[in-house]
């Protein structure tokens, strides 16, 4: 039952092959049995899940269910959930119970999904390996010695291990796509503004975007549609109709114009990873896609640009965690300054502090022009590069990450090496573009098969095309169907 996709589960529920309660108990059992070794969940909401499942079964019995009614899901612990602990995997919020639901949470709830729990993540979504979590690292189901990627590492591990059929993620600089690539999932980050950020605890507001981690493009289409759309509570959400993504999956590959990003096939790319991505390109070509090289010369600026913009915004966004109204407060503060310094000093982990300090620095008087303003100019150049490319091609293609999953601890002492893991994914965030990562094969590392992902990026609001291309590719391949050994 647990290896079925969301669309298969939904069909089974509607056909009354199994009840939502059966399904939910089954997944809760798997979480209990397999969750601890992966450390994928921060909070399991068993009681809530059973309530949701019973309500879903009632709706289904009346024939009132929608395409997701009764399907269990998990939320990254960055989304506020009413009455449920919402930690952002930080000591700062380890005891924080949100008093409201994020828009993404309420939309999926309205669609009838069942909430299994809240997944582990890099602290405040800052990290690429899920090793910055206050609750400890998440392990990759394909190899427990390796990271699942980050920051949505708990969601990725949970879905990859089939202990949750699908999960939400957030992607500020690759945090959905890179974990998807490292765990053999389909992960989509929609256009900035497509999904409401309300209730999603902000890291870098101009880059943060919610999305989906699932086991097929079809699932991603169903789930994305259910969370998308204008929200009056988020001024940056866009008032534009949401397509029926699932109904648009059958756009043919024939004639599709694919641009291969030259700058993303250079130094640093693992040859074995490149080989799998090239093979996928070959398949697309074989199915009638028109492939050409494109050059986006400003893309190498992505990582340095990101590491100015994102810390700048985070340094301000995280100021509200001051020990005054919510979150961690130090014991016996002797005065206001002491309250601030110790509450924040104790509540935040090393990577979060590093980014707050970086961001504070780049916004400081005398440095603003040299860093923040300069980064904004680079951002405009990157966006212009993409816009130019999309005059000639429908999507651009690259690897999602330069290597397959790396070992726990391998990059924790070298922030730059860690940051470079997002070298191919960050540009889409800076340009506000939709991106998807899909499985495209495996590499053998030390006798273990590790998944490889390829990334497609489209023009603004081009999610439908990205999902369709991915779905068509998945009609010709079964990489996405493979489940990590021991979890099938």
């Amino acid at each position: 039952m647990h290896t079925l996709t969301v669309s298969e589960l939904a069909a089974g529920l509607r056909a009354r092959k199994f009840s939502s309660l059966d399904l939910t108990l089954h997944f809760l059992g798997r979480i209990e049995r397999l969750g601890p070794e992966l450390n994928a969940f921060v909070t399991v909401t068993a009681d809530r899940a059973l309530d949701d499942a019973r309500a879903a079964d009632e709706a289904l019995a009346k024939g009132a269910g929608g395409p997701l009614t009764g399907v269990p899901v998990a939320h990254k612990d960055i989304f506020c959930t009413d009455g449920i602990r919402t930690t952002c995997s930080s000591k700062m919020l380890s005891g924080f119970v949100a008093p409201y639901d994020a828009t993404v949470v309420s939309r999926w709830r309205a669609a009838g999904t069942v909430l299994l729990g809240k997944t582990n993540m890099d602290e405040f979504a800052m990290g690429s390996s899920n090793e910055t979590s206050y609750f400890g690292p998440v392990r990759n189901p394909w190899d427990h010695k390796r990271v699942p990627g980050g920051s949505s590492g708990g969601s990725a591990a949970a879905v990859a291990a089939c202990i949750a059929p699908a999960a939400t993620g957030t992607d500020t600089g690759g945090s959905i796509r890179q974990p998807a690539a490292l765990t053999n999932l389909t992960g989509i980050k929609p256009t900035y503004g497509r999904v409401s950020r309300y209730g999603m605890i902000a890291y870098a507001s101009s880059l943060d975007q919610a999305g989906v981690l699932a086991r097929s493009a079809e699932d991603a289409a169903l789930l994305l549609e259910a969370m998308s759309g204008f929200d009056p509570n988020d001024s940056t959400s866009v008032d534009r109709p949401v397509p029926n993504y699932a109904a648009e999956l059958n756009q043919p590959l024939k004639g599709l114009r694919v641009g291969i990003i030259r700058e993303f096939f250079g130094e640093g790319l693992d040859p074995a990873v490149e080989q799998r991505v090239r093979a996928a390109i070959g398949l697309l070509q074989q199915e009638g896609a028109v492939v050409r090289d494109v050059s986006l010369p400003s893309l190498p600026l992505s990582v340095p640009t990101y590491y100015v913009v994102a810390p700048a915004e985070c340094s301000s966004n995280l100021s509200r965690f001051d020990g005054v109204r919510f979150g961690h407060r130090c014991e016996q503060p002797k005065d206001l300054l002491d309250l601030y310094k110790r509450s924040r000093g104790e509540g935040f982990g090393a990577e979060v502090k590093r980014r707050i300090m970086t961001g504070t620095y780049v916004l400081s008087a005398g440095y603003y022009d040299a860093y923040y303003l300069q980064a904004q100019k680079c951002r405009a150049l990157i966006a212009a590069d993409f816009a130019r490319a999309f005059e000639d091609v429908d999507v651009v293609l690259s690897p999602t990450a330069p290597t397959a999953a790396f070992e726990l601890g391998a990059k924790t002492s070298d922030p730059i090496a860690m940051y470079l893991n997002d070298i191919y994914s960050i540009a889409a965030n800076l340009a506000g573009l939709p991106g998807i990562s899909i499985p495209c094969g495996f590499v053998d590392v030390g006798g273990k098969d590790l998944p490889v992902g390829l990334q497609l990026v489209g023009p603004h609001f081009g999610e439908s095309r990205l999902l369709a291309v991915s779905h068509q590719y998945q009609q010709h391949t079964d990489w996405h169907k493979r489940v990590a050994p021991g979890y099938a």
């Binding site: 507001s205 988020d234 700048a312 301000s316 100021s319 509200r320 109204r325 979150g327 603003y368």
Partner: protein
């Protein structure tokens, strides 16, 4: 050496919107602490600001009324600093691109001189909450009801050269924002506040002197005192060979002095940057024109009309248009009277204003309505009572709320206009005062007043003064 004072004002006008600038919470004053603060105002994780369109329209109203440029595209920025009454750790404000720029306002000084004061900019921002340091032993209380209340910060050019000019400008802005109905102007409740940038320089010097910013001045009187104190302080400092430090100073109303709060070096680096949670504020021409079309008659236009149509002096017109309500009251009185604009002006500025001041009431709270007040003036106009008696009638109206006619009848104050009645009163007075009569007739003209007084006394003040004059003159001259 003689010195020139240079003053610029930063005025914070709390916009009279029903809800906050970025949240749906109410903005009413005086509610129980923290009952008008929702998750957005509390800066909860995950919440986002949504701009209140009404606050924007109010800012446009101000801009249009001051001939300013309305920015087609302005930006909200974050001003970052830590303080417990600033829940997010930053204040959303406008920094590099404010919504209103480059306006001006004309002030009229007491001697009738006119002067134009430049308005550099006016920008939208949110207010912080309040920290309460009394009442909590060793602790501070935080009230976030005010957090997120919309403010329009109006920044003048350094165009004012005396405290008097600064007050005239401040009052003019105060009048204007109330005319525009964008701010209630209540200084006690803090909905209209002012910081003053003050510097001095030797007369004739082109460069400005080093300025001090005086914060926390919450009445017109205190602004004037604070500026005068600060000017004296700076001149004394400079003449003693010292230098003025650029700093923020607080005005202490009890001691009547300013004192240093923080120096420029201690000032926060606010790390302003565009708020990524809010889109640029885009205002199109149609919106501006729509606002322009719904502007009320502004104080200057109204005053000019009072001069033109009612024949008032500029000074009187200025006083009567200082608030929209006062002008409205005055105009209602004139309309009811069907003219007599000067009589109405004198009475509104005289007895009515006096009574209001005495009881510390606004014109809107007047115990005598405009209609009732016109009723009183009508009795002066038709000679039922004299102006002097009218004062007595007005006092009675003010204290017991009755109409003029009722009081006149009840107290028998109707003026005596019957010639024979006045004549017989004169005859009596002449008969009783033969000595004075003889003196008058032998050339002591001054005694005329004595006879007027005696007759008035005899008639209980009700004799028509003009008639009395005529008849008395005739009789006395024999």
């Amino acid at each position: 050496m003689s010195w020139e004072t240079v003053i610029g004002l930063e005025i914070h006008a709390q916009l009279a919107t029903r809800s906050k600038i970025f949240s749906g919470s109410a903005t009413a004053y005086g509610a129980e602490p923290n009952t008008q603060a929702n998750l957005v105002d509390l800066g909860y994780p995950g919440v986002l600001p949504v701009l209140n369109g009404e606050a924007v329209r109010m800012a446009i109203r101000f801009g249009v009324a001051t001939g300013s440029k309305i920015s087609r595209r302005s930006i909200f920025a974050r001003k970052n600093y830590f303080y417990p009454d600033l829940p997010k750790g930053y204040q959303i404000s406008q920094y590099e691109r404010p919504v209103v720029e480059d306006g001006s306002l004309e002030i009229v000084l007491e001697d009738g001189t006119r002067k134009t004061i430049g308005i550099t900019r006016a920008h939208l921002e949110e207010d912080a909450g309040k920290s309460l340091h009394e009442d909590f032993h060793g602790l501070s209380g935080i009230d976030l009801n005010r957090a997120g209340t919309p403010l329009l910060e109006i920044v003048s050019e350094p165009d004012m050269r005396s405290a008097k000019e600064a007050i005239a400008y401040l009052k003019k802005i105060h009048t204007l924002v109330r005319y525009l109905e964008i701010c209630d102007g209540n200084m006690q409740e803090g909905s209209f506040r002012c910081d003053a940038n003050v510097s001095v320089r030797p007369v004739g010097q082109a460069e400005f002197g080093t300025r001090a910013e005086i914060k926390n001045v919450n009445s017109f009187r205190f602004v004037e005192r604070a500026i005068n104190y600060e000017v004296e302080r700076q001149i004394e400092l400079l003449e003693g060979g010292g230098r003025v430090k650029q700093e923020t100073r607080l005005y202490d109303a009890d001691k009547g002095e300013t004192r240093s709060m923080r120096s420029k070096e201690e000032a926060n680096d606010y790390r302003y940057f565009p708020d990524p949670d809010l889109l640029p504020l885009v205002i199109d021409e149609a919106t501006i024109e729509q606002v322009r079309a719904t502007l009320p008659e502004l104080p200057d236009e109204k005053a000019a009309r009072f001069v033109r149509d009612h024949g008032l002096s500029e000074y009187d017109a200025g006083v009567l248009t200082s608030s929209r309500e006062l002008a409205g009251y005055y105009e209602t009185v004139v309309r009811r009277l069907g003219g007599q604009a000067k009589l109405a002006a004198n009475w509104v500025m005289g007895d009515l204003s006096g009574a209001l001041n005495k009881d510390a009431l606004d014109i809107g709270q007047s115990r005598v309505s405009a209609d009732a007040f016109a009723g009183l003036l009508a009795r002066i106009q038709d000679n039922t009572i004299s102006g002097k008696i009218a004062k007595e009638v007005f006092e009675a109206m003010w204290s017991d709320g009755k109409g003029a006619d009722e009081i006149i009848e009840a107290k028998g104050l109707r003026q005596i206009t019957d010639t024979s009645a006045i004549e017989s009163a004169i005859d009596d007075v002449m008969a009783k005062n033969p000595g004075q009569l003889a003196d008058y007739r032998s050339g002591k003209d001054k005694l005329f007043g004595f006879f007027v007084g005696q007759v008035m006394k005899a008639t209980g003040g009700k004799a028509n003064p003009a008639q009395l004059n005529d008849l008395l003159k005739k009789k006395l001259s024999g």
